[in-house]
Symmetry: C2
Subunit: 331 residues, 2 copies
């Protein structure tokens, strides 16, 4: 397939994903009709090839991850997706087949998450592929769940399981399995962890539970340890957390039981895209019930308390874990 022009690219690949408000992607802008009683929530994430994804990742997966990391931010705010804008800086050597795969992945997720394409811009670039997505969502008036708001005594909940993506990334970076722990992993576990890195699961189903019961929430993109610290310090909070209480997948659990040092990348690696939130104890039962009904596993991993220090993670013997690098940096 020859490389299409910008107009062909839009008409062929992206116009089929467009919402009515996208005006066929043939206008200067998109329209999002007034939503009475709803505030707009907006978030943006940029992904560069070689930094946020591997240039040889399947194009559909790259597209889906780019959208999902934005949906994860909307989820953390208790918001419902309404649509997104897409910016693409395309290197010359990107093929039409790659773009077709990218658009197909985007289309599937736009439909699955009811988050249609509203508009975009496509430019050529002498550098690597850069994807910029801005997602727009809606939240009932004044019900946005902030990052800042943890109070002393709040239970700190984590959704899903932590560290799978960091382990998946380690495996991806070590294709010949040179590390001892990687040599012994089962194919099924390796595939599971690789998938968790490739395709995060935005926890949008938690939005009502968060809006109803959480004082604060954020999504974990740069590692649980660093992101929890960011959320806690906004209100002068800290926490003591038993590492054994952190929810792990059975794949991660099997690895860490044999190689305890993997606890560090599990707690500090990036790309979890799970949520952390703070819920007052009086609401914890109701929160857990709603989360269960929404089909999202959540687990309380500690209690917020006043203090200026970063949250302390302890091992089974009560010793504080010291991390070389508390937070993953995409920057």
């Amino acid at each position: 397939m020859p490389r299409p022009s910008e107009d062909e690219l839009i008409a062929t690949f992206f116009a089929p994903l467009a919402a009515p408000g996208g005006l066929g992607l043939r206008d200067d802008a998109a329209i999002l009709p007034e939503m009475p009683g709803q505030d707009i929530v907006a978030t943006t994430d940029m992904l560069a090839a070689g930094v946020h994804f591997f240039p040889d990742d399947p194009p559909g997966a790259v597209a889906r991850k780019a959208l999902r990391v934005n949906l994860s931010d909307l989820a953390a705010k208790g918001a419902e997706p309404r649509g997104f804008l897409l910016g693409l800086a395309l290197p010359e050597d990107l093929t039409a087949d790659w773009l077709a795969g990218f658009a197909q992945g985007l289309r599937e997720d736009a439909a699955a998450y009811k988050c249609p394409l509203l508009g975009g811009d496509t430019v050529k670039s002498p550098g690597p592929l850069v994807i910029s997505i801005t997602a727009l969502g809606a939240v009932p008036e004044q019900k946005l769940v902030p990052r800042k708001g943890v109070a002393a005594g709040d239970l700190l909940y984590v959704s899903g399981t932590i560290g799978d993506a960091a382990l998946g990334l380690k495996l991806r970076l070590d294709p010949v399995r040179s590390e001892p722990w990687a040599k012994r992993i089962s194919q099924a576990d390796a595939a599971y962890l690789a998938e968790r890195y490739l395709l995060p699961q935005p926890r949008l189903c938690l939005r009502e539970a968060l809006r109803a019961h959480a004082h604060a929430a954020m999504d974990i993109s740069d590692g649980l340890a660093g992101d929890l610290e960011k959320m806690l310090k906004l209100t002068g909070m800290t926490a003591r957390i038993m590492a054994a209480d952190i929810p792990l997948s059975s794949a991660a659990l099997r690895l860490v039981q044999r190689s305890p040092l993997l606890l560090e990348p599990i707690l500090t690696g990036g790309d979890d895209y799970e949520l952390i939130c703070a819920v007052p104890p009086s609401e914890s039962e109701a929160f857990e019930t709603k989360a269960k009904a929404a089909g999202v596993p959540v687990r309380a991993v500690g209690t917020a308390e006043q203090g200026e220090i970063p949250p302390v993670f302890k091992d089974r013997e009560g010793r504080a874990l010291i991390f070389a690098r508390p937070s993953f940096r995409h920057f």
Copy 2:
């Protein structure tokens, strides 16, 4: 100044530009409170160094252009700016001084256009600087001015003057003034045209006139000839336009009088960021009065008529002008 971390970058340079809804740029997302009776208008534009601006352009001008091209899209829809999200893919060698200049330019325009920063994302990139801006605006319910809507008989108006930026770009690409026309240009004219390329003027002041009187509008980013064609063909329209009726700055007029071939880049070059709009004759007087009150010069350059061909530009002798490349492509 050493290169700051992402958190320092945001806190130092960008947090001072943030709207209250930007939540201090320390949350996952921004909030735009409900605006009763207003629809949201969203637009996004991406700019890559070496494609949309020169790597040695002043950083403040790069920032302002990146914001203004988005504001120009809002202007074309009759919308009022409400805020923007900023994505930056930063090469390793970008200095803190450059970033300080960039943030300062952004700050000035965010204030001047009442369009505060709502959020953003900053990533490292192995390639050139890529800037992605998504601007959000508001328009009274169902009053968005579409691109599609030109009716037969509508007068076709152009704001400001056409072609200055294309000439400014030509001069920029020819610093030794090798072309005959460029040798003879006055310093003042050269500076004027360079500035028109560097800093577009989004015609936001026209928004009320457009909403009240225009059937359709768009901004001219890829050349008058090609963009007018795009707008007209959405409703099966064409037009005959006398090139002599196109509003030119006195700098451009002096050049084209001596070098008539410059008419081609004037009509087909990019980066005008003026508006074209279609106004029924019964409303033209009212439209012109409102535009004048808003301080934006507008001029009718032709009349829309049914037809499948691209608009025809004619010289003083009535001969149709044939362009080698009807539309400028950033792609």
